[in-house]
């Protein structure tokens, strides 16, 4: 991809901006330098990332004025906020005179900047649910003149690292607040020429012209990783992707894997893939090979890092790959647009793009030495937070294979469900589950009645509202623990009609009556809260057709909807009208895990 000149970026950005609808989400920016100069680059990069954003720039340096009070920023209802404060702009003395200040005053100055940043992030959180990105601190360009400063544990550089750690820790305590790794961007661009002294003194531009594209790319990548629904599964080719050579021709001893070059390149690539599995991505195989040969390779080759247990699904056959990807998506019960296809063969990639345009395809370079960089460079694989359930997901999908085996052995669905020995643990307003609940709300597509993507602090607000309930269900069976699989939010509990604002379930547990158990629990919460009827809302999306008749099938009656894009149903909360299914045992939740709404309200 050719690098555009500054004039070309301006021209492109202007034509992109002209086409942006007025509803384009805003990226609110408050900076201690002239962020306006990066504007065209941000427009251009957001467009390229497939996530159009329209930056709004606050007046230079006016952090508190813009964030802590009514201001045009809030009138724009931004979808994301970047707090871009540079150390050298707010504590200029640290730049040249740090030695005269001594360790304690350096520490105080840095702590002051950190607490100012954290206060700004908290203030932003109080006014909006938009994710907040706070630049971390850097003075990298000073390093060129001070080779021994890093020897001093109380010197400016060591203390900045310490301050960045404190900043990260404090931001982690604020919902949907993130560090934007400004120090990392400066380091990647090269500290020496990062700021052009002329542009700085003429226009308070912190970034030299040649580095603006990189700064914009990094910011947009960070922001969109938080905003978009993450991919779920990396589907891998085998020959010349996970090892060098062709297994069918060269045999397990002939393929290049491990040892010296080039085998070590492929082993390193496998190791990186293990890292992605640790971060919650499923791995799958789509390879044109004999299944038995692949099976043997995975089981016995001493240098393989990826083995059967790392793959949620393996398709080694001679069918066209798009068909295999369809089957993988179906087996894992995820959308085709949750798959990333990784294949060294450009013909296979082109076929995939043509046949299944919704599948993401990783562009691999011809030389395997570049594979790792291509994988790490893929913004779709960025994951802002890794939760404990994420890391266990491959195991969960393997347990699923055992369940399928059982299902084939037994005579009826009823018997299968009984033999699963399911245990459901229901709870509501459990703070410890907040992050996982938020994650499910934002990624569940199929079994999702309203697909309302509530932000983290909106969920928290529901938990604290005495008229609402945020309920969840954890499921385990004889094969394993599936973790938290259902989320429901009730509103108007205590009024005549309680409404199901949100009802969703992980598609891994569809068809096991779990939804009926959960609905029975929700109905119980509404009835215990004093409501007489339960209102179910269905909002159609391109993906939630599996639940289009959910309420009808459960004896709800359609009523006139008060929203344009929704269908409303109601059902009396009479005793016995929402039976708990007999095939699932209900487990009482341990008391300490539950955050009770009533005590929260009285705190």
């Amino acid at each position: 991809m050719a690098v555009l000149t500054p004039a070309e970026v301006l021209r492109e950005a202007r034509s992109i901006e002209r086409e942006l609808p007025s509803t384009t989400p805003r990226l609110g920016i408050v900076a201690s330098f002239t962020s306006d100069l990066v504007h065209p680059y941000l427009i251009y990069e957001a467009h390229r990332a497939g996530w159009p954003l329209l930056p709004w720039h606050g007046p230079f340096g006016q952090f508190e004025q813009v964030i802590m009070q009514e201001s045009p920023l809030w009138a724009h209802a931004p979808e994301a906020i970047w707090i871009a404060m540079r150390l050298q702009d707010v504590e200029p003395k640290l730049v040249e005179r740090s030695q005269s200040m001594g360790p304690a005053r350096i520490r105080n100055a840095l702590a002051g900047v950190c607490s100012r940043l954290v206060g700004l992030a908290q203030a932003a959180r109080a006014r909006s649910s938009a994710p907040v990105f706070v630049s971390n601190l850097e003075l990298a360009q000073l390093r060129s003149g001070r080779p021994f400063e890093a020897c001093d544990p109380d010197g400016i550089f060591c203390q900045i690292e310490e301050a960045n750690r404190e900043l990260a820790r404090a931001l982690q305590g604020i919902p949907d607040a993130y560090v934007f790794d400004w120090a990392g961007v400066v380091g990647a661009c090269g500290a020496a020429g990062f700021t052009d002294p002329k542009l700085w003194h003429m226009a308070k531009a912190a970034v030299a012209a040649q580095h603006m594209p990189r700064v914009a790319t990094a910011l947009i990548r960070t922001v969109t990783a938080v905003l978009r629904t993450p991919l779920k599964c990396i589907v891998l080719d085998l020959d010349n992707t996970l090892w060098g050579g062709v297994l069918g021709d060269d045999g397990p001893t002939g393929v290049k894997l491990g040892g010296e070059y080039p085998g070590n390149v492929f082993r390193e690539f496998q190791s990186a893939l293990l890292g992605f599995a640790d971060r919650g991505f499923l791995l799958a195989i789509a390879s044109k090979n004999d299944a038995a040969v692949v099976d043997d390779m995975l089981r016995t080759h001493p240098e393989m890092l990826l083995r059967h247990e790392q793959f949620a699904c393996i398709r080694a056959n001679w069918s066209p790959k798009p068909q295999n990807l369809r089957e993988i998506a179906a087996e894992l019960n995820i959308g085709l647009d949750s798959l990333l296809f990784v294949d060294d063969n450009p013909v296979e990639r082109a076929q995939m793009r043509a046949d299944l345009p919704m599948v993401q395809v990783l562009e691999l370079p011809e030389n395997p030495l570049g594979y790792l960089e291509a994988l790490r460079g893929c913004p779709l694989l960025d994951r802002p937070r890794v939760l404990s359930d994420d890391a266990n997901r491959v195991a969960m999908y393997r347990e699923n294979a055992l369940r399928q085996e059982l299902q084939q052995k037994v005579q009826s669905l009823e018997e299968y469900l009984h033999q699963l020995e399911m245990v459901a643990e229901v709870s509501h307003c459990s703070r410890t589950e907040l992050e996982r609940i938020h994650q499910l709300i934002n990624k569940t597509n199929q079994f999702n009645l309203t697909t309302r993507r509530h932000k983290l602090d909106e969920v928290r607000a529901f938990m604290e509202d005495p008229g609402s309930r945020v309920a969840s269900l954890r499921l385990a069976d004889r094969f394993g623990d599936m973790g938290l699989v259902c989320v429901g939010i009730l509103r108007g509990v205590g009024t005549e009609v309680a409404e199901v604002d949100t009802l969703l379930m992980s598609c891994r547990v569809m068809g096991r009556s779990v939804e009926d158990a959960f609905l029975a629990y929700l109905a119980g919460l509404a009835r215990d809260g004093g409501s007489a009827r339960l209102r179910g809302v269905f909002r159609v999306t391109p993906k939630n057709s599996p639940v289009v008749r959910f309420y009808e099938e459960r004896g709800f009656t359609q009523v006139e909807a008060q929203e344009a894009d929704a269908v409303w149903y109601e059902k009396e909360l009479a005793p016995g009208s929402f039976p708990w299914p007999g095939v699932i045992r209900q487990k009482q939740t341990a008391k300490e895990a539950v955050y009770d709404t009533y005590s929260a309200a009285s705190l």
Binding site: T5, P6, A7, E8, L10, R11, R14, T34, D36, L37, P40, K198, L199, H201, M202, A203, A205, A209
Partner: protein
């Protein structure tokens, strides 16, 4: 117009969002409303990248019309 002048006209068009046929040697901060200090910085970056020359802050003060920009480039041996 010389090729250099045409190039400068194109850059000015890109920076201020003007259709190419509207930009002439006489286009200046008097005729273009958005010709402000911020866009002068964009113009400096564009000219430096296009012609591979260094524009000093003193030069930038005179970035007020297509004609003046061409004159500054001429002084720097771009012709």
């Amino acid at each position: 117009m010389t090729p250099i002048q045409q190039q400068v006209c194109r850059l000015v068009g890109d920076v201020f969002g003007l259709p190419p046929e509207e930009v002439t040697l006489k286009t200046s901060h008097d005729t273009v409303e958005k010709w402000d200090s911020l866009n002068i910085v964009h113009l400096v970056m564009a000219v430096e990248a296009e012609f591979g020359v260094e524009i000093t802050p003193d030069d930038a003060v005179d970035f007020l019309s297509v004609e003046l920009i061409c004159a500054i480039l001429g002084e720097k041996g771009v012709a």
